[in-house]
Symmetry: C2
Subunit: 492 residues, 2 copies
């Protein structure tokens, strides 16, 4: 397979698809809308999981596991939530296959093994979890419950894209239970902050924290907080959500507790999640026409070393030097791959690791041996320099920090450049279609206006930023008074 | 809920069920046959996962993720495998719900959203994975493929028990592809060794490595290797399996490669897995009538410290000492929980941590403050001793090693005591019913004899041990000649 990608400018969407497949991140499977996450892609996801899991535990959460299936009667208990997901549910109706009498060696669904109650493959786990929490909570002493689950979920999507929108995806979902409204809101905001910190410090992806409008809220939530990122094609991507669920699920599942005053009250809830969609966000934030660009903190290996040699003897000399450098870097916590395969040429390897986004590439040849040098190339800037081998571990460690920071700064500058305040609907439409990006505009606060703007321009309100600047103005669409600008964009 | 358990002697099965629920390991869910793994149980599973995952990576494997669903046409491609799992498959037939016109607020399956091809919820992933490998393998240069997946699987079980047999369970499944038969067999054996090492060194559970008979083989395998453990009630438990799949899946999915001689050949395969069933094995290997007993290497916290105090001031004095000890132990890699809750009495806490199997409990009261001592209790032997606080971290580290070793030695001695060689069928039946345990007996090697013994006694051949001692004898059932004894037992 050729390593050449379509360019972002020629066809952004094809560039993305080709990159995901050629960099060995994921591919389509035989199951419509479901993907295979390939080892290199999965290794990045494992890095994400490890960082997030630690942050969840550091904020007092524990992991648990709840069933894949939700009986229909539980699924429909919280009606808003059920309605929101009903149209995209995979439903298990039978529990057995049998031999096809008309087709030897083939199987058919056994009509005698029909379930009395259908099982929904979880699109999200509030229902099964709140049905379980009911048995765990009697008094305020049983609260808070701070649980996270790493799991697969299924939402039947008609139009899918690798990582960004797939029928099955991997995610984590936090589900917490609290005594008071204030405590639940604090939790919702705390986890939003965790997500924002992860996005910015690990993924090097700047995000805006905000509220969703009622239209865009999670089905069953009183308030949905989100982090929104801007991709290189000027489209927004919702990278994580944290929901204040009020007492909606407690009421649907009758989860009451005796409070400190001895009175019965319904429990307050939150839920929050991020998914393998983050892989799509990561790819689209930093990558270029040569392939993936990974922030060092999430790279499966941060450094690759490629020997350039003639003959076994020279390779042995180079390897001796390389293995020492490798050990020195590893002792500093840097992950290093030494690619001494003899069935591929250095140029092929260079292209391969550029495609795979390895942050730093070190090449070493015969002249380097003589001079005590190596050639070091940065993936983010594509700059090369010749460095002395001595103290290479500290030079590389410093370079990795610079790359991590540079990627964030570059993405931030891009977002700032692509954020435009507009004051009229004409201006709005021009920017949404032309310049694209985040568009800051006054809005009258009604769902009606929001829907009309969406119908006419495909732009949606991505969020109302937290601590948003209050500023009197008029709605770009209705001309009615508005107290603040909100962020519009076309979105993934 | 009372912390008292049924005793193992009075009712082993109830003892197990109560222990699993009361020690907060798992519980039944609203979905028939599916469990909720509670945070404390899940924390043990996470420890198991981390140790196994490292062992897999250290032996050259990488993780990936394949779809939850298998289209029926792929599922049935390898006929032996399909037949083996057909009777226990959850089947997705529809992808949408809709409002029930006769029942406002309720949902029904939308008959218009019927899938043209049913999807099987994976009971194991050979089919979907080999269908994917087909696209990855052209030549010997693409081999070996050494992939593991952590996932949930579903097998529709009629009689379920928490951890031991559940409709949905969590597991890892390795799926490897090789150039030669010999290499695949080496891989199968290597992973069996990994499992045995994990069982013995982490779980402190001795196992016998062996082959399954044809009757007990994985559907689709040419050879199934297993590790078998003996539980405290004298029943065997299959704790892990590693399958040599020959070219069966390669042929079913037409996966050929150009070998080094340039000829086309089918790829050789293995698969291997362990599951949350190991949690059941762990519980039943070491626990007693007071609750769980955990080997230190898998305990979510290895040490719990309970203060015994009167008044805030004394608690503050104790806490000062405790926090220093805790830090010293943590610096040595020991995980420590300090339980200074003021709403439970020390006696309640002692019982709680005995139930939860915490390996070492440290209590510290007013007199200890004066004397510079602590009271240290071992969960495995229930022995208590008073130790000087000085150097407590090294004393506890040493004690944890002793506990890990003692649990293994105790389980090994139990197994040896419960392993009986018999020479007649009468003797066989007496031991299987009375003493129980592993029974070593001559067998004529036929499936027919094996099935008859199973029908008459419920005992099955657990395995033919690897490197089994060859010894001439006669089959206990048929009287035909036999070259070796095999291990029979009743089993989970």
């Amino acid at each position: 397979m050729s390593k050449e990608l379509s360019t972002r400018e020629a066809n952004y969407s094809e560039w993305y698809n080709e990159l995901v497949e050629k960099a060995d991140l994921a591919q389509h499977s035989a199951v419509k809308g479901c993907m295979v996450i390939k080892p290199y892609g999965y290794a990045i996801w494992e890095k994400m999981q490890a960082a997030l899991d630690k942050m969840f535990k550091d904020t007092g959460h524990v992991n648990a596991y709840f069933p894949l299936f939700v009986p229909k009667s539980l699924f429909e208990a919280e009606e808003t939530n059920a309605e929101g997901f009903a149209k995209e549910c995979a439903v298990v109706t039978h529990y057995r296959l049998k031999s096809d009498p008309n087709n030897p060696g083939k199987l058919i669904v056994d009509p005698e093994a029909k379930l009395t109650e259908e099982l929904i493959v979880r699109p999200t786990s509030e229902a099964i979890i709140w049905n379980t929490y009911k048995g765990w909570i009697q008094s305020y002493r049983d609260l808070p419950i701070l649980i996270n689950q790493w799991a697969n979920v299924v939402r039947w999507e008609m139009r899918t894209r690798l990582f960004l929108r797939t029928t099955e995806f991997l995610w984590q979902e936090g589900h917490t239970a609290h005594e008071t409204k204030a405590e639940a809101i604090t939790e919702t905001e705390k986890m939003l902050d965790v997500y924002a910190k992860f996005a910015e410090e690990w993924m090097a992806m700047p995000v805006v924290k905000g509220f969703k409008t009622a239209n865009e809220r999670f089905a069953g939530a009183d308030e949905t907080y989100c982090i929104e990122a801007l991709m290189q094609d000027g489209k927004a991507l919702q990278a994580g959500t944290s929901h204040f669920l009020g007492q909606n699920f407690a009421k649907a599942f009758d989860v009451k507790f005796a409070n400190k005053e001895g009175k019965q009250d319904y429990v307050w809830a939150t839920s929050w999640g991020v998914s393998t969609r983050l892989m799509g966000a990561l790819i689209m934030s930093h990558s270029d026409d040569k392939g993936l660009v990974l922030p060092p903190k999430l790279a499966p290996y941060q450094v690759v070393i490629v020997p350039i040699y003639k003959g076994e003897e020279q390779l042995a000399q180079i390897s001796e030097v390389v293995l020492k450098m490798k050990a020195a870097m590893e002792a500093k916590g840097i992950s290093v791959k030494y690619d001494d395969r003899d069935n591929q040429r250095p140029g092929w390897k260079f292209a391969e690791y550029e495609l795979k986004g390895v942050p730093v590439r070190i090449a070493i040849g015969g002249r380097d041996l003589e001079n005590g040098t190596v050639e070091v190339a940065r993936r983010d800037t594509m700059e090369k320099e010749t460095l002395q081998q001595a103290d290479i571990e500290n030079k590389v460690a410093h370079m990795l920090e610079q790359i991590q920071d540079n990627l964030y700064q570059k993405a931030l500058a891009f977002r700032e450049e692509k954020t435009t305040a507009v004051n009229t609907y004409e201006e709005f439409k021009t920017v949404i279609e032309g310049k694209t990006g985040f568009v800051l505009a006054h809005w009258d606060g009604t769902s009606e206006t929001e829907k009309k703007i969406k119908e006419e321009t495909k732009a949606t309100i991505r969020c109302i930023p937290l601590n948003n600047k209050q500023e009197a103005g008029v709605c770009i669409y209705s001309g009615k008074p508005s107290a603040q600008r909100v962020i519009f964009a076309k979105a993934y």
